[in-house]
Every structure is written in C-alpha cells, then in structure tokens.
C-alpha cells in the first residue's frame, strides 16, 4: 500500500484531474504526438520556441493518471526554460523514474513526486510519454513517436 501511495501522491492525482496548460497552442511553432500503443495513451505537445527558449507550452490528449500528471507538470516546469535546460531536466527526470538517480530528485523541484514510479517499471513509459513527445517536437520529428 505504501508503494501505491508513493506512486499516486496527492499532487499527481490533483494534476491528473486538473491538468495545467491543457490546451492547443495557437502560436505553436513545434508540435509532436506521443503514443503508447500498449495502453492507448495519446498526447500532443505544443511548443512556442523563441530564441532557443520555450516561451509557451501546452498539451492535449488522453492517458492514465501518471502520464497526464507528468505531462501537466512538465509543461509547468519547462515554461521559460531554454531547450538545453529542458534536455537536462528530462535526463534527470528519466534517471529518477527509472531508479537510476543518485538522490531522490531534490534538484528536480516538484517533479520529485515521480520518484515512486521507479518501483513500478511498467509505468515508466507512462511517466515519460509526454517528455518523449517534447523531444520529438523540439527536434522536429514529424511522425507520432511511440513508446514501443
């Protein structure tokens, strides 16, 4: 039960029910879809990148609580960050949810709530889906990316 509570923390549940930046970005100059064929999770991430920084970000789609909360908190975290910083954060986030991080993700701020995912290897794909879509958007991959 405690592992479950670690996974489904209040913050995560709250974000999954009321996702932030949950909108199509009219001004987007980058966008990409992320798709997990295994469970049908499907998100589109929209980015407005100006002078190497993410000036605005939004997402839409459907998925489980973990994938939705992760997408929501990703958009909150990355707004205003340079694309280089976004890369660095994703790399740390990835280490955190796969259990490879040295600490418990203190330097990730709010995103540290996802540490519990590392106890559920099958859910890592959920936690990283929107992030993979983000990378696809930044690097201009047109096709929907898939976690499989």
């Amino acid at each position: 039960m405690s592992e479950l509570r670690e996974l489904y923390q209040e913050v995560i549940l709250e974000h999954s029910k009321k996702p932030r930046n949950y909108r199509v970005l009219e001004t987007a100059n980058h966008k990409a879809e992320g798709f997990n064929p295994l469970c049908g999770d499907h998100f589109t991430v929209y980015l407005d990148v100006k002078d190497g920084a993410i000036s605005d970000i939004g997402f839409q789609g459907s998925g489980c609580a973990i994938s939705k909360a992760s997408a929501s908190m990703m958009t909150q975290t990355l707004k205003g960050k340079t694309t280089g910083e976004a890369e660095g954060i994703f790399s740390k986030f990835h280490d955190l949810v796969t259990g490879q991080a040295a600490g418990s993700g203190e330097d990730l701020g709010k995103l540290a709530v996802f540490a519990g995912v590392s106890e559920f290897p099958l859910r890592v794909k959920c936690a990283t889906l929107a992030w993979h879509a983000l990378r696809a958007a930044l690097y201009g991959e047109e096709q929907a990316i898939s976690t499989e």
Partner: protein
C-alpha cells in the same frame, strides 16, 4: 461389504465440478503476489497449466525426445506415435470428420495467416471482398488486410450494436458474389460476445462462401463441434486451452485443404523432391513443413485430455455461473460501466471506471494480487466503436472461484479509494 446401487439421480447429484479440488491441479495458482493470494483473472490472455500438461512435456523430454516421421529407431517411433495421438485427440475434441483435417500450427494467429496466404491468395483477386466483423482480434484483421492489399481486394466489416452484438442483417447484406471468404470470431476476447456461428455459416454457405472461425476464446469455454457448426476452418491456440504456448490447431475441411497450395516449404511437407519437381505430401503434412513443435503438441494433448475429463459442458456451466455473479457484483459498483453486454456472452468482463484510466486500475489491482488485463486487448477497432481508449478486463478460467470475484470487487473499491 455392501455396495448400494446408485440411482441415476444420485450419480448426477454428486459434485461434478469441485473447483477447490481442481485448483490443486494448477501449481502456479498457489502463490502470493505483493503479499496477497494470487487472483488470476487474465485467462483470455493466456491460461495456467495443470500439472498433467507440465509433466507431459517434461516426461517427453526425459524419456521420448526424438524427431518424428523419420528414424526407425525406438525413440522416434515413440515420439511419432505420441505426436499423432494428439492429432487423433484433437479430432475428437473438435469432432472433425478426419484427423487429416487437423493441422498443427503455432497458434490462432498462424492458423489464420495460413488460410489467408494459401486459400486466400489462391481464391481472392482484384475487386473481391473479405468479410469480417467489428469485434475481431487484430489477428483476424491484419492477415486479411495484408491479403486485400496484395490483391487489390476490399475488407468489409460487419457492424455491432452498443451491447457488442453482431448486427446479423447488416452482416448478411455484406455477402455477395464478390465475397470470397468470411472470417469471424466465435467468442470476442474484448467483449465476451458469442457469435451465432451456425447462423453465419448458413448465410455464407447459401452463397457458397467459406467461413473461417477464430476459436481462440471459444475452444476453452464451450464444446466445439466443427461438423455441427459446419464451418470451413476453425483456429485455436493451445496456450488459451490450458496447454503450452507455441502450439495451436487449424481445422480445415478436407475438400478445401486438398485444393489449397502449401504455405511453407521444407521437410515433412514433401513426398519427393528433385530439382525439377517436388511432389507435396498428403494431408495434413502438406501444411506442416519442418520439424514441428513436438513437445508442446504432446503438452496440448495432455490439456485436451484434462479438459475432456472435466467436461467442457461442466466448465461452461461453471464459468457461466461465475460470469453471472461477477456481472452483477461488478456492475453494481457505482462509477463502473461494463463494456460488452451481449445476451450471449461468456468468460469476459470488460469494464471502465469514471475518471479512472484502466492502466491505473491495473496497477492498483495488481498491488492486491489481482491479475487483470488493461488496454485495448488487441482489438483497437472495438475500443474505437465504444469510443474509449482502453478497458480493464477480468477474464475467467475453469479454476476461478466466487471468492476471487469478491476479491476483484474489493479491489475495485480500493482503486476508487486510492484514486480519490
């Protein structure tokens, strides 16, 4: 010593299906998952294996392992005999007219591909049509799509209603002179719907159209009689039938199998080979190229024997009672909606929950030791039909109990509690 003669009534009154006794035949069921007793409700994905199956495979490798249809030595003779005995058992199990109509394949998927690639490629041409239904598993969709793409033919899909039942009249309207084959599931793995196969075959045969039946889910749940159904092909998987993975059966009517070209070439499927001409072997070997999966075929034989001893009718009754119980109990939970409510249904309880994604349901139930499947169940068009991304699915096996359904219900309440 006195023996009292039993009246027929008394014999019938004996408990014929003692599920608690049966559970002892399945070693895997007696374990804890996350500190809770395992409740295995993912039987539509694959079933657990009774000791008889595990031991048949092990004994084969310990005592009889050899290649078949080749050597004259004792082990080869034993292996060949054991292998062919399973063919005879499978014939009886499906009530096929001849054991030559039983072809061993890797599973349902391979069986369907075999028919699409042999019967299909020979008989379907540009402008022709293949008819399936909206509730098919991907393995009864994609092989036909591949065929249609290659031939310039068209795949037609018979619609279903909101309960997940085939619209028979709409189905019949799709049948015409261009229809070259009908392929339908006997029992839907995503919805549990039992299709009226006999009726469908009658409609198709009235127009001289052959019918393939995907029996992956029906074969473990009901008595299948291919002659009574009068279907032309019937496909099933051993691993869903309490047997091993990697082995399945394609039943085909002799007169159709005779006219079909072979699929794969190699050893065993030939009568004679020269570089100028190869003469193919007779049925069923024409379709069994190369060394087959001997050990798992023997395992499948043990599974068929096990099921026949329990009696398919008893299994069907047991599961029907359980499904009824589960439908009422799960259906009564506020915030839960059942997907697939056909009148004729078996084995499968698919559901969705308000504001809770099936993936989260699956993780939380697993933490309670309950194994269900979540996702699209290899039937994405079914999900699209019901406008949902996925469902959670509890699927029954002959060893499931009411207590396990109670555990599922408690687990669903737990899901609601965790997800707030």
């Amino acid at each position: 010593m006195s023996t009292v003669a039993k009246t027929p009534h008394e014999i019938r009154a004996e408990p014929m299906f003692d599920v608690h006794k049966i559970r002892r035949d399945f070693p895997i069921l007696h374990q804890q998952v996350h500190g809770k007793p395992l409740v295995y409700l993912d039987n539509a994905a694959t079933t657990q294996k009774p000791l008889a199956v595990i031991e048949a495979i092990s004994n084969y490798y310990r005592h009889d392992n050899s290649n078949i249809h080749r050597g004259v030595h004792t082990l080869s003779e034993r292996a060949t005999e054991a292998y062919e005995k399973v063919r005879a058992a499978a014939q009886k199990f499906l009530n096929a007219a001849s054991s030559k109509e039983i072809i061993f394949v890797r599973g349902t998927t391979e069986a369907i591909n075999l028919v699409a690639q042999t019967y299909g490629r020979k008989n379907v041409s540009s402008g022709d049509e293949v008819v399936i239904t909206a509730m098919e598993h991907h393995s009864n969709i994609v092989p036909w799509q591949l065929l249609c793409e290659e031939k310039g033919a068209r795949l037609r899909v018979a619609p279903i209603n909101d309960r997940g039942e085939l619209l028979l009249e709409e189905f019949e309207k799709l049948l015409g002179p261009k229809t070259k084959i009908v392929a339908i599931g006997h029992l839907s793995n995503a919805l549990g719907t039992i299709n009226p196969v006999r009726e469908i075959v009658r409609m198709a045969h009235a127009r001289n159209i052959p019918v393939l039946v995907d029996g992956a889910q029906a074969a473990p749940r009901m008595q299948v009689d291919v002659q009574e159904l009068d279907c032309d092909f019937y496909a099933l998987s051993g691993h869903k039938l309490y047997g091993p993975t990697g082995i399945g059966i394609l039943y085909g009517k002799m007169e159709l199998l005779e006219t079909m070209p072979p699929w794969q070439g190699g050893g065993d499927m030939i009568a004679s080979v020269t570089f100028e001409k190869t003469v193919y072997n007779r049925l069923p070997y024409k379709f069994e190229a190369g060394t087959p999966n001997i050990a798992d075929t023997i395992g499948l034989g043990a599974a068929i024997e096990y099921l026949s001893t329990l009696g398919l009718e008893q299994i069907e009754q047991h599961e029907a009672g359980l499904l009824n119980y589960a439908t009422q109990a799960v259906g009564a939970i506020p915030g839960v909606r059942l997907v697939g409510t056909a009148k004729e249904k078996a084995g499968v309880l698919s559901f969705v929950m308000d504001d809770i994604h099936p993936h989260d349901i699956g993780t939380i139930l697993d933490s309670e030791g309950i194994a269900v499947r979540t996702g699209h169940h290899c039937a994405q068009p079914v999900m699209q039909r019901f406008n949902i991304p996925a469902t959670a699915r509890a699927s029954l096996g002959l060893y499931n109990t009411r207590q396990e359904i109670d555990a599922l219900v408690a687990g669903i309440y737990k899901v609601q509690e965790v997800m707030g």
